[in-house]
Symmetry: D2
Subunit: 268 residues, 4 copies
């Protein structure tokens, strides 16, 4: 069935013949394997370009920052899935990745788009403070959350934020989007009436957009990073099962709010 206009698939990422695999125009075996890190290869795959030193450092830092944060919901979902289906490691990883959505982890991309919006307003003549005030005011009017600000555990300060900003500065990255992210943080209390500190999902686009990482692929950073964390958790699950223990604990205080037939819960 023909869906859409195009009937011929196209790609610029990879081609191969019997002897050579070409990725982004380069010979995989002669020019890439052993010559660049997996992180740099990820950037090359995405953009067709080799990252410069600042980009390489910052991208590594963001992947390390977001790969692991303990038994968060997506890790629990993954470990429960593995406990139920231990033959299919790929299925348990997939279950974990499916939890990288709009509420959790997806905020990196939304925050990045917000920063691009501020930058566009500055290109149109607004000051940083004006642009920051305008976008927060608009989000408040729309009763929308501020993506990348506030954290359920790290209320005072997500410790990954300062470290990522520090790494970006030391690497010589363009800090334009870092300043935008900070301006938004400063604008929030006056408009929303409460502090919401930048969390790691704001810090990631703040440092990555300055080194040329494409905004449209920002959600790929937590997805790739968490895949590494999930594989580690599933290796641990294989040796020290916790998936079913998690599900047991999860329902210990479960409240059933429906009705029951007469006699339910009494010994027969």
């Amino acid at each position: 069935m023909k869906i859409g206009k195009s009937t011929v698939p196209r790609t610029a990422i990879c081609t191969s013949d019997e002897h050579t695999i070409v990725v982004r125009g380069q010979d995989l075996c002669q020019e890439l394997i052993g010559h660049l890190s997996f992180t740099d290869y990820f950037f090359l795959l995405l953009t067709g370009l080799r990252p410069d030193a600042a980009c390489s450092t910052v991208l590594d830092a963001t992947l390390v920052a977001i790969a692991e944060h303990g038994l968060v919901p997506s890790v629990q979902a993954s470990r429960m899935t593995f406990a139920a289906a231990p033959d299919a490691l790929q299925g348990a990883v997939a279950a974990g990745i499916l939890g990288c959505g709009s509420v959790i982890l997806g905020a990196s991309e939304t925050a990045g788009r917000l920063f691009m919006d501020v930058a566009a307003r500055m290109d149109d003549g607004a000051t940083l403070q004006q642009a920051a005030t305008a976008v927060i005011t608009e989000l408040k009017a729309a009763r929308a959350a501020i993506p990348g600000y506030g954290h359920p555990l790290h209320k005072e300060r997500d410790p990954r934020v300062d470290r990522l900003l520090e790494v970006a500065a030391q690497a010589g990255a363009d800090l334009r989007y870092v300043r935008i992210a900070q301006a938004l943080e400063e604008a929030i209390p006056g408009i929303l009436g409460k502090e919401l500190r930048m969390n790691v999902s704001a810090a990631i686009p703040a440092v990555l957009l300055g080194v040329g990482f494409p905004v449209a692929s920002l959600r790929g950073v937590p997805i790739l990073a968490r895949t590494a964390g999930l594989i580690a958790h599933l290796a641990e699950e294989a040796g020290t099962p916790s998936g079913f223990a998690l599900s047991y604990q999860a329902t210990r205080e479960l409240q059933y709010e429906g009705t029951v037939p007469a006699g339910f819960g009494k010994a027969p």
Copy 2:
């Protein structure tokens, strides 16, 4: 509901409080972000240990080697899924990962277990040649495939194999499992009556087992690597859609082998 014996979940990977995230005993922000690469962090997450230089080089090389090989079935599945559900990047990545199974990509782990079997027989006194001959003979008797040997496209030689072996040698890695992999390749023709050359799924465990990568997590290497490739393909799909074109082409020669009602296919 209590399933299994344990009711208390346990982990040794990560803990945190409001100010500090601890991963494998180290302070994520002070000791890890900006201090080690994502590849090294993957090894630390998995094993609790920092890789030595040879391990780091070899693990990077394997991840680069297996991340991308064009529009293979799992990439097609992922791009078709994204075309149908473009709002859920994580879903399209998950669909691609679900194709990292026993037939495709999963052979890394199976081949690694085969190499461990040969090594165990050598520890018990067999020569390398005796052990290699024995395991191939047993697989033939069981009518089983030899995991990691033979390739549908790269019949003469998968070019990634020689390069990975070269990188491992140059990095000073322990080459014990490389020699086992080669001995199996040499043993095959005499027993099976045909050549089956080592493919990338044999080369990956051959080099990784020598640098301390755990055999039980070998399937994690193609899963993590392919996630990077999938994210790149989905970024391309967002800009240059091919998912529906792939599905259109796929069925151009489809043969329907069932029956049809009278009059089907004629204009009404």
Copy 3:
């Protein structure tokens, strides 16, 4: 980690003790198994109510209508996944379900919400024709597609539409939303300058909303229905493999649009 306000999980769907499983207030074994169809049970699970005869008939009809339409993209993705990972049936089903997104199959819900919008405008005093004209005009102004109208194959008329409407009428269902769906179809040419005929994704909410199916769960209908189709395709795939043949055909005309190293494609 505490995310959100609630820390106590609640459910009204099911509870159980050692002797009795209670679903929606009824004893699963005494009152449900053998007493109602799977379709009626699906409605009970979703809403807590037993469907009346019209609802039961219409819901069965929609599930039958949408379960199967040949080797569509999500079925291809599922069969490719099964070919690569035949040990994990659940993974191949999951890969197929992941293609039930906003572009494909998800239109049932979007169309249903559109019909509710028209109904609300009528409750506020508009005539059916006024309300239909208004929502199509607004969608055109927003350059948005009309969800549930137009089909790549069935251009003249999706044959499932008339049949679903006929079944609903014969079953004595409330046809209010059918009339809304038809009014939108009639309003389209005058506003968009072309005919777009109602497709199955409009017919499904048109008949289901009239029998009390909740609009918020409309996307569940194609998901449940397609699961049945996917299981059938995977049973066929296990006996008559087509997954890799599909992927082979899909790339026969693939155009590589990147660069290649000097000498690529020539025999070495």
Copy 4:
């Protein structure tokens, strides 16, 4: 890339032209929609045959029996995934289905194959008791679990078992596999030294194999059934969120077994 021998995809399930959709040789709109239930259509999709009355009754009963059992691990995984990614209902359903694996729910198929093994031994001349004793003895020797026997909650008797057997008997189904399942239950104590009562995963193949359901698709029954349950849970989750509350509860007694840096856990 050509993988495997076949390059031409084939199917006998469905074909269509602009006016007609043909499923298993029948006109979907004229012969199927409104003429058979979703359950019967599932059987037709799978086998190409319309079920007889006994088959229809028994298949409905098994789907109703296994669709829902409260907040089991796969439902928890699904609800956590939805809480994190509420825009992608299909992703949350997929995450839940991924937990229908070899340990949970997959036992239906394994038990069904066990019953076929007993039946084959009887065809070769063994009595029912001899065949049952032989397979249990062999499983014990292999230190394997008996698939479909024993339950973590319903220790005395899974109430679904008796009801399914009763429905099958009342429907006039062939009870050969029911007798096999019962013979295995009777053989267990003498060989294993403890009682293991038949659970729902044994009852499902026991009744389904007698009405012509294909053993190779037995795992499809819990997958399809649970999809209905998952959709209901996700509808409830959208209105009464419990996903994050489940993950909060799950880790309340979590034990971290790794080391921590000096000073961790003390206010800074």
